[in-house]
């Protein structure tokens, strides 16, 4: 076991895979700069594999697709998830579709890295969690690791995967440290993790809602309520069986996700369980998610947006009590103090 931060895990994953496979290249604006996880890579791998990148997201995403169809494995780092929108056509109309359109003649092995800067006072244009949008697009695998070990193991798997993988990183987790297995640590794409076992309520938590759910679980355990925390880790393919098995046990489901409510990942998970696990359900399915409003700049407001241990615990406890869920969970009137991971902002790259 080694201890490293989520950010180091990203660096190590890329480093190990670039050493293993000369077809892996990195496309990233300012990727050679000392603040970036790929700093120093140019010295080891040369300027061709770590090229200087103009501010041309659409262009270099298209270039990555052309490179991927002809034998390379680009890692495209957008540094801020919102910048994917500039390249949306290339991601959605081409990377996700070319293999299908061309009858399997080519594959498009690209990893699109997208750090999500929400909860960092960068306002609406830099704070999105766009994975639900891409979950609606067939042909893309989608990963949101919540621990350093999973970040390492899933990024390595993503780089080796022959399909396009979109790799979302909650930036507030970048500074979090954790144990990572030694050796060539790979985590398979498509397998959920049971982050904590429990009997009473299943909490499916995504990204940095996982540590929040674990804190909620610890708090409720003292009161005799057992939360089972499932971390899907990959959203496409989604490990439905793991979620259904947990709900079969608990009969109650809370989904905690920092993305927007409407058509979010939480909606999909709720729909699957309402469709395939209806017989297990003893209570309404509750979403603890961001409301349908943009992340505001003001930290006093933004901290009301995302799932907190308090919101998750309150939802789970209400289910067990048999109380009806709030129709549209408004943020708490008093600002929750989300100190967790706030210090990781020190590691951020300005944007």
């Amino acid at each position: 076991m080694r201890t490293m931060s989520y950010r180091e895990a990203l660096r190590v994953a890329m480093l190990e895979e670039m050493r293993r496979d000369p077809s892996v290249v990195v496309f990233c604006e300012d990727g050679r700069f000392w603040t970036m996880p790929t700093n120093g890579f140019v010295d080891e791998f040369g300027p061709d594999r770590v090229p200087v990148m103009p501010i041309s997201e659409e262009g270099f995403t298209g270039a990555a697709i052309g490179a991927a169809m002809t034998g390379l494995r680009p890692i495209v780092d957008y540094t801020i998830a919102n910048l994917m929108y500039v390249a949306w056509d290339q991601i959605v109309n081409h990377a996700a579709k070319n293999r299908y359109l061309f009858g399997g003649q080519a594959s498009v092995p690209i990893v699109f890295r997208a750090a999500m800067k929400y909860a960092n006072a960068t306002a609406a244009q830099h704070s999105d969690r766009p994975y639900p949008q891409l979950m609606n697009v067939p042909g893309l695998k989608i990963v949101v690791p919540s621990t350093p070990a999973d970040a390492l193991g899933l990024l390595k798997s993503a780089i080796r995967d022959d399909d396009p993988v979109v790799f979302f990183e909650p930036l507030r987790l970048w500074g979090v440290k954790g144990e990572v297995p030694d050796g060539d640590h790979l985590v398979p794409i498509g397998r959920a993790a049971v982050a904590r076992e429990g009997e009473d309520v299943t909490v499916v938590a995504i990204g940095d809602a996982v540590p929040a759910a674990l804190r909620a679980a610890a708090g409720l355990a003292e009161r005799g309520v057992g939360l089972e925390v499932i971390d899907p880790r990959t959203l496409v393919p989604l490990d439905k069986a793991a979620i259904l098995a947990s709900v079969a046990k608990t009969g109650r489901l809370v989904i905690a996700d920092p993305a927007h409510r409407t058509c979010g990942a939480a909606a999909e998970i709720a729909a699957i369980v309402a469709e395939e696990g209806f017989a297990f359900l003893r209570a309404p399915i509750v979403r603890v998610v961001a409301p349908d409003v943009h992340p505001p700049f003001s930290p006093a407001l933004e901290r009301l947006m995302y799932p907190t241990p308090e919101r998750i615990a309150a939802a789970a406890a209400a289910l067990v009590r048999g109380a009806a869920p709030a129709a549209d969970p408004a943020p708490p009137a008093t600002a929750a103090t989300d100190t967790a991971a706030r210090d990781t902002t020190k590691e951020l790259v300005g944007g």
């Binding site: 298209g62 270039a63 081409h94 359109l101 003649q105 080519a106």
Partner: protein, 351 residues
């Protein structure tokens, strides 16, 4: 002028024309080509002259006016026609159709229905060749309308900044659908835009296959030798409407304009030149008949090919199979909590 090459040019230009005439015939008769079909009749010299300047292992990316490019690059006609008819034997298994022909076996990396989007993909193929240490070049075809889209700018800039072996060939047929280029672009030519990237920009007579060959060959050699990219603008004309499907009617084009271009038909010009060069009418007629029979055979092949089976809908999407926890058995259906107030419906559903 090179006799062998010119005969090959004539062969490929005739293949394109006869192939597209056959496709138009099938569309007209309702014999099984659905969707949009954009023919390039009138533009064959620009397409073939460019592709003849490439090696078999060089890359080529096309666009929606789409059949000429793979044919000129050397693709077999049967699977192309089968693709237009949506058959399982189609070069893309019926997944792509007319706008998405691709034949990776001859370096044809695919046509795209998104104007301009193929340009950066070709840049990526050229980049890939450099990283893999080959001297392959990549050629991108696009229309005049594409010169106004961001991908053009970003793709050309990337290729220039990285000094890649990319060749950009604009088939300027003066119109984008119904819109004259002069109404959407203030500069006097597409080629003039090359200066913005400090690359050579060359205008060539797109009806003269030798002229196109010479200009593109010089660009290819420059690119292959590490001299960077070139923008070529081939002035040409399409005889038909924007598409065979959808009632586009370009009869508003001035009659003199149509006449002018028809008087410089690229096939006739080449035919006349070969005659002048001493090739006999008989030899040319034999060549034409060989091509006609190739096309008839392609149509027979396509029409006799089976439709794809329903399960093929799901094929060609993923390169790597998806690994998840084994599915659990479906839960038993609960007996409904209240009385069911309706008559039972016979199994098999209703009409």
């Amino acid at each position: 002028m090179n006799r062998e090459r010119d005969l090959e040019a004539l062969r490929r230009m005739l293949r394109i024309r006869r192939f597209e005439e056959a496709a138009m015939d099938i569309v007209r008769k309702g014999q099984g080509i659905a969707g949009s079909v954009h023919v390039c009749i009138g533009q064959e010299a620009a397409v073939v002259g460019s592709c003849l300047a490439l090696r078999a292992d060089d890359y080529m990316v096309g666009y929606h006016r789409s059949h000429g490019h793979p044919i000129a690059k050397g693709a077999a006609l049967g699977p192309l026609m089968a693709e237009l008819m949506g058959r399982r034997t189609g070069v893309c298994h019926g997944k792509g159709g007319s706008m998405h022909l691709a034949d990776f076996s001859v370096g044809s990396l695919g046509e795209t229905a998104i104007v301009g989007a193929g340009i950066p993909q070709a840049v990526g193929a050229a980049y890939s060749a450099r990283v893999r240490g080959t001297d392959q070049v990549a050629l991108a075809f696009f229309g005049d309308g594409a010169a106004n889209i961001g991908s053009f700018h970003e793709g050309l800039n990337l290729a220039a900044a990285w000094g890649l072996g990319a060749v950009f060939v604009c088939e300027n047929n003066l119109y984008a659908m119904s819109t004259a280029l002069a109404d959407t672009m203030a500069s006097e030519s597409v080629a003039a835009r090359a200066a913005a990237y400090r690359m050579p920009g060359v205008i060539v007579d797109g009806q003269d296959v030798d002229a196109v060959y010479d200009v593109v060959s010089a660009a290819v050699e420059r690119g292959r030798a590490g001299g960077g990219p070139t923008l070529v603008e081939a002035r040409t004309y399409r005889y038909r409407d924007h598409a065979e499907y959808g009632n586009m009617d370009l009869s508003h084009r001035p009659a003199e304009e149509v006449e002018h271009w028809r008087s410089r038909d690229p096939v006739e010009l080449l035919h006349a030149r070969l005659l002048a060069d001493g090739i006999s009418e008989t030899e040319l007629a034999a060549l034409a008949e060989t091509v006609a029979e190739e096309v008839r055979a392609a149509v027979r092949f396509a029409k006799q090919s089976p439709q794809p089976a329903p399960e093929e809908l799901f094929e060609d999407l993923w390169a790597t199979p998806i690994e998840t926890t084994p599915a659990m058995p479906a839960p038993p259906m609960p007996s409904p909590p209240g009385p069911v107030p309706v008559a039972a419906v016979p199994a098999g559903g209703a009409r």
